[in-house]
Amino acid sequence: MKKLVSLAVGMGMAVLTASTAQAISEAEINNDIAEFQGFFLKRFPGVALEDYVDGVNALPQYAHRRANWELMMDFPPYEPEMEKAEEEWSKAFANGKGFDDCNLAPANTYPVYDEASDDLRTLVADLNACLKANGEKPIKNVKRGKMARLIAHYKSQFNDEPMAVDFSAAGAQAWYEKGRQFYWAKRGQLNFSCANCHVQNAGNSIRGDVLSAGLGHGVGFPVYRTKWAVAGKPWGTMHRRYGGCNKQVRASPFKAQGTEYKALEYYEAIMNTGVPLKVPSQRQ
């Protein structure tokens, strides 16, 4: 009987801790940021917080290939595409208004938590909402092409601004927790979490490739990726990359702009607090 009681108490405690674990405070999130960033700063001495903006190119393990990348950046492959992006951005809507009239948040503060709808506003969602509000057709493909170019154009105006996403609301903290769970949970047939590769093994070689650090993820997006350019679709948003990553660990990808990837984008954005924007970026 005594055993049963202690078992029941134990279970009650477990339920209690499980339910309290759901809520996370602003202080705990700040602690997470310090711990996450501190891990990388210690792992790669000599790589400053703002250097992580260059992704894998910033890591000493990638030094032998950095010169090649720097040469490519003398004439970035995305330059003609950025001219196209500017044209698309400047084209007026049928009602005479344009993207400049959209009520957008500063690029370094996305995703933005909206208290009224208890939802995250991504830049993609805001642009489509703006199109709709002005009687224009929203852009269907939110993973590549025109949508990615429009975001690249808008975000590039905020380059060098440090990431500063707000998470002060309780609802925002619940979204953060959802993203954190996603980041650290193992998934797919290969049983990898995001953290397995991009925290625990950042800088290590997977065959001939170097795994990027989680710190710096997203601040260069949308990216112009050489691998995607070969197939004629060089641009990709964060959610395109997330889907590709999930497929690589042999998990079913989630929907772009769906709950899972929005939460993940939010978590990653918060982990990058203080890292400057550099849009667009070229990745291999």
Binding site: Q189, L190, Q200, N201, N204
Partner: protein
Amino acid sequence: MLKLKTALVAFGAAIVLAATAGYGPAAQAGGDWPTDEECKTVAKDADTIVKGWCAAINRKGGNCLACHQATISPWPEGFPPGGNIAPPLVAMAARFPDRAALRAQVWDATVVNPTTSMPPFGRHKLVSEEDIDNIVDWLLSI
């Protein structure tokens, strides 16, 4: 002088011991280690060691070299080097005197270390039971 002689003998003995214990890069008895492409034709009637090697290097099989380096000789020409995420596959027979323990590690490494990056090849059916046996045979040969 005697000291130097003893040291030299000891050093020589260590090399011989290391070589006989299989600590050097492992050669394949039937010739060179086949490449991924050659495995398509070779693997059918090969011994379990070569079958294991073929299952280990295939990207859709074990893909072991994505994370591990292996000490085999000669390294197949044009073959990319192994990764450095996981410990190198060296002196396996000495490190795993118990075959079952090695097989269990390949089958599901999360039992020993829940946060390991190593995929549970058996539990998630990434590799067939037969190929896990072959891979273990190959591992114990290098």
